[in-house]
């Protein structure tokens, strides 16, 4: 299966705001996302920004951690496709990469994004691809905005479901970086691969600009979480829908 182009996705840590409400919140956004990105809660969200880190902490404190979070999806499932985000570090020993991917596949995920893989386990890249395919998943890759060109080319050659470009140094933190330039450069390197962009996107205009710069999709996490915190589900939904429309409008040339 391929993701829709353009695409809009919301990131949420699975288990946030709480085990009870998590699914409900996700479903409330359903009309305005093309797919979800769901984080497996961890005690060491090492490459995440403060807002996302807090959601991990909340989930873990509520007793939801790692693959257990997938159980929340059993209660009825989601109406849109989803991919998972997990730190490989947490699973290497138990249940191992294969176990992680198999459970993800069983839960219906399209792929598992491992943001620490390129930095901490670069030598495991091919293994991850093999194991994903073996589990019936597509590989998904993470890249930062200071990333070797050779790796982007390599990613592209491995036919991923998507290449996730982290536009900012961490999720939810906006620094004065010429993100559109980076998207244009990434696009040149990844060719026709599906390019998902995220980290600290919070406005419809930014999302639209990213699509115009060459991204296939945009994912929003921290901003939706903050909206949820400040204005509840309604506010989160309004934000998601406005960005969804911007993304789709931008692609249509609006």
């Amino acid at each position: 299966m391929e993701l829709s182009r353009p695409g809009f996705s919301v990131y949420l840590t699975l288990g946030y705001p709480g085990p009870a409400e998590a699914l409900e919140v996700l479903r409330s956004l359903e009309a305005c996302v093309d797919f979800y990105e769901l984080g497996l809660p961890t005690r060491r969200p090492k490459y995440d920004g403060p807002t996302v880190r807090a959601t991990h902490r909340r989930a873990v404190e509520a007793g939801v951690e790692g693959l257990e979070a997938l159980r929340l999806l059993e209660r009825g499932g989601l109406g849109k496709p989803f991919t998972l985000m997990a730190y490989l570090e947490d699973y290497l020993e138990r249940p191992g990469l294969r176990g992680l991917l198999e459970e993800a596949a069983a839960a219906g995920a399209l792929c598992v994004l491992l943001p620490d893989l390129p930095f901490d386990y670069p030598e495991m890249l091919e293994w991850y691809v093999d194991e994903s395919l073996r589990a019936g998943l597509r590989p998904c890759f993470f890249a930062s905005s200071r990333f070797p060109h050779g790796w982007l080319l390599r990613y592209a050659a491995l036919r991923p479901l998507y290449i996730y470009l982290g536009l900012q140094p961490a999720t939810g933190v906006e620094l004065p970086i010429a993100v559109e330039r980076n998207v244009r450069l990434a696009r040149r390197l990844v060719g026709g691969s599906y390019l998902l962009t995220g980290f600290a996107v919070r406005r419809p205009e930014t999302a639209a600009a990213l699509i115009r710069a060459g991204a296939d999709a945009v994912v929003v996490g921290s901003a939706v979480i903050r909206a949820l915190e400040e204005g509840g589900v309604g506010e989160a939904r309004r934000l998601a829908c406005s960005i969804y429309e911007a993304v789709h409008g931008a692609a249509a040339g609006v």
């Binding site: 902490r57 930095f119 930062s144 905005s145 990333f147 900012q168 010429a178 450069l185 390197l189």
Partner: protein, 429 residues
């Protein structure tokens, strides 16, 4: 004739594996100092354009025209020289050919101006009226003071206390240029006061001075911190050295050597060549050698892990070879080499075996400096003398036809106190 390059080179684009990102300490919430995410804090600390250069996918970064112009004013391109006198003095004439890039030709006497100029320029673009920074021997502080005077900003420099005392000439030079210089630890910041309370005789460390400078920036308006080394963008700025050298070198060296404090002159000198090697465009057999001080041997003896860039953890953590952010190195004369860590990209290259490291004691370095001064007529900075020392080692054992190029990152005309104490001045010749 070689001109000033139009682009800086960003090696991150060519690394064989991705560079681990800067990250927040995971226990930040617990720290409770109210500063929040260290990554997020950068926007209040660093000049905006520097942040953008830190996070770019571009392999080549255009050098802004005013910066290029200032480079020209400052005397770039710097010369690349053949060290014939030194070859003779080493007894390797005809067997080994030695070249060096002479960054001491810049008006501050070191390579530091290469990044001081763009950073102060970027601070000015942000509307800043003051730039603050740390300094060891004073080479960096002096470079910032000059750049600030050139561009009409005020410089505030936290100078490690041991150097504040021993490198008086550089301190006064900074003051003459209009800079305010504080000994670090100082009474001016909370971090400084705390360190002094704990150890009234604290000699200072670069890590602590960074924390102080940043605290100073965060506690006022229209201030920016400028970084002397370690950040990728700083190493990128320094690649003017290596890009010029590629044009100037008459032959591909077997060795390229530089000293390492934070890694900026090493990165600046070698990255364009390492990049070519990584892209398969040349320098296949070239070995890249980092010369560090045995007093702070992070690349040789440090641990490769996430650690604080500064003692106070006001900056994010970086994955690098480190002796620990709280390491206070002995007060050696090469104060610029006293940093506890090394730039993430350089650390990564070291880990991958693309860069080798050698650590030298102050005494063996002094001997090399003496030999070089007397045969070439240029007094190396105590920092740069570490590279000279490594070259001596390599040259003496090298087979016929070996070509060595090194970066003479600065001159030691203002470090004569050191050479006097080390017995390099006077004596036989």
């Amino acid at each position: 004739m070689v001109d000033v390059p139009r682009y800086w080179y960003n090696i991150v684009a060519d690394l064989p594996v991705p560079l681990p990102p800067l990250v927040d300490p995971l226990d930040d919430e617990a720290a409770g100092d109210g500063l929040g995410s260290r990554i997020g804090l950068l926007v209040r600390i660093l000049p905006s354009r520097l942040i953008d250069e830190e996070y770019t996918l571009s392999r080549l970064l255009p050098i802004p025209e005013p910066v290029r112009e200032a480079y020209r004013r400052a005397g770039r391109p710097t010369p690349l020289l053949r060290a014939e006198g030194f070859e003779r003095a080493l007894g390797v004439s005809g067997r080994v050919r030695i070249y060096y890039k002479y960054e001491g030709a810049l008006p501050t006497g070191s390579h530091k101006l290469n990044t001081a100029i763009p950073q102060v320029y970027y601070a000015k673009l942000d509307g800043a009226v003051e730039v603050a920074t740390e300094t060891g021997a004073g080479q960096w502080g002096l470079a910032v003071s000059i750049a600030a005077a050139m561009l009409g900003l005020k410089a505030v420099v936290f100078m490690t206390r041991s150097s504040y005392r021993s490198k008086k000439a550089r301190r006064i030079a900074m003051e003459t240029l209009g800079a305010t210089v504080y000994p670090s630890p100082s009474e001016v910041t909370e971090a400084g006061r705390r360190a002094l309370r704990e150890n009234p005789g604290h000699p200072g460390s670069l890590g602590l001075a960074i924390t102080e400078a940043i605290e100073y920036v965060l506690s006022g308006e229209r201030r920016r911190y400028v970084a002397g080394s370690v950040l990728e963008s700083v190493l990128t700025h320094q690649t003017v050295i290596g890009l010029e050298a590629l044009e100037q070198l008459p032959e591909e060296p077997d060795y390229m050597v530089a000293c390492v404090g934070g890694g900026s002159n090493m990165g600046g000198f070698t990255y364009p060549a390492i990049g070519m090697k990584l892209r398969g465009e040349g320098f296949e057999r070239t070995r890249f050698v980092a010369a560090e001080s045995a007093a702070a041997p992070r690349l040789s003896r440090g641990e490769y892990r996430y650690d604080g860039l500064d003692t106070g953890l006001v900056l994010p953590l970086a994955r690098m070879y480190s002796l620990g952010k709280d390491y206070v190195p002995p007060a050696i004369h090469a104060a610029g080499l006293r940093y506890h860590g090394a730039a993430p990209s350089l650390s990564l290259l070291r880990r991958l075996g693309l860069v080798e490291a050698r650590a030298y004691s102050q005494e063996e370095v002094a001997e090399a400096a003496r030999l070089f001064a007397r045969s070439e007529g240029l007094i190396p900075a105590p920092e740069s003398a570490h590279a000279v020392r490594a070259v001596v080692d390599i040259a003496r054992r090298a087979p016929e036809g070996t070509v060595i190029a090194f970066n003479l990152s600065g001159h030691g005309l203002m470090d004569t106190d050191a050479y006097e104490k080390l017995g390099v001045a006077g004596g036989g010749s």
